[in-house]
Symmetry: C2
Subunit: 234 residues, 2 copies
């Protein structure tokens, strides 16, 4: 008995491990994803998430950051593991599992030229092209997870510039949840959390009157979380 089991456990077979990055940006009131045309066979030329094989001497999350840096020029972005896709026949040809990770970037900070060089484009989330393999599934899964998480974690702030206005923040949440929010209630709610710092500057790009800029206060947020508070925005 035990030896049968031990045998089974000892079947060691190696496989390829890839990571696919689901890169989010927020621009002109729209939530967007960065996709590119695959450069290698098979399926060359098809739209795809941006991925890479994970190297033997590389942590998986490091691989994700490497990909991100190569494509966007950005370091130190917010990135989180979504899920690992490991159906045996998900990739035609050879066995390859993929650890999907998602990144939230400040779209105005990325290197547009680099993105172009790689044949990558931003797509609005409700207008995506067909994607290869199980990438569409990954996108559906990440949207579900973000909608779930954004309620309780302030991940939205990662997508905005360092300084942002309340109307911008509201637009972002509206884009994530795909519904209109009441501006009075929204403002009341986010301000009551005490994680926003009002600045003396205004942003006048959205209106003549201008809206006050705010910064996210990570320290207060950490305190709020440590206190066990059930942060909920939407």
């Amino acid at each position: 008995m035990a030896s049968a089991r031990t045998d089974l456990y000892q079947i060691k077979e190696k496989m390829y491990v890839a990571t696919d990055c689901i890169i989010f940006g927020f621009d002109s009131g729209k939530l967007k994803l960065l996709l590119f045309r695959r450069r290698v066979e098979p399926l060359r030329g098809e739209w795809s998430l941006i991925g890479s094989f994970v190297r033997l001497d590389e942590d998986i999350d490091v691989a994700g950051h490497r990909v991100l840096k190569e494509i966007t020029g950005l370091d130190k972005v917010f990135m989180q593991q979504l899920k690992t896709y490991g159906k045996k026949d998900r990739d035609p040809g050879y066995r390859c599992i993929s650890v999907a990770q998602y990144a939230l970037i400040r779209i105005e900070e990325h290197d547009e030229q680099l993105v172009e060089e790689h044949g990558a484009h931003w797509f609005e989330i409700d207008d995506l092209p067909e994607l290869i393999l199980d990438h569409r599934q990954m996108v559906d899964d990440v949207l579900a997870q973000i909608r779930q998480n954004a309620r309780y974690r302030p991940i939205g702030f990662e997508l905005l510039p360092e300084k942002f206005t309340i109307p911008q923040l509201q637009l972002l949440y509206e884009a994530i949840y795909q519904k209109k929010l009441d501006s009075r209630n929204f403002r009341k709610k986010v301000l009551s959390l005490n994680v926003l710092e009002k600045l003396d500057e205004k942003d006048r790009s959205g209106s003549k009157r201008g809206a006050f800029l705010y910064k996210f206060n990570y320290k207060n947020y950490q305190q709020l979380m440590d206190s066990g508070y059930n942060f909920e925005i939407v």
Copy 2:
């Protein structure tokens, strides 16, 4: 430029992919984990989660179910992916990533003899031995995730017998959240969700008077979820 990137992307190196199963049970009012003494070198004899290499012709989730079946004799258990652990040096000797999955089983249904044969034991979650590698991290992560998820998904029911009483359900939630709940409020809340079906039988194992048994109604639960309701128990 582009060719440099293409080169980098094409570095294909294979690695071992394992899965570790975090197996939960609920017994005598305590939340428990199934651990076993590792049978292979290195670290033979140390306490460990139960895992296996994923085979080339096997889906990752199938590998998890295989492990579970081998150890507990159970099929068709609730199992969900937690996270993939992929630090390059997490496993001494060779590069091996691990996809952690957690399972919730009805402890009274498992095959005790099989468990014993494999040198496995149930431990209360607040009294775990030292674990190998990053398994302690996995356990901490899974507890955080379960506490998060159990608020909105009825995963608790997977740990109870098919027929259970409200006091049993409450004990389970108290074990998950490690705090006392008010029985009047708890009962009111779970019954108001309309996902429990009251049976005509009583369970008298817990008291002389006996408590009515209930069944979980998956259909109503599905409806509740589809309606977008924000299920929250604790």
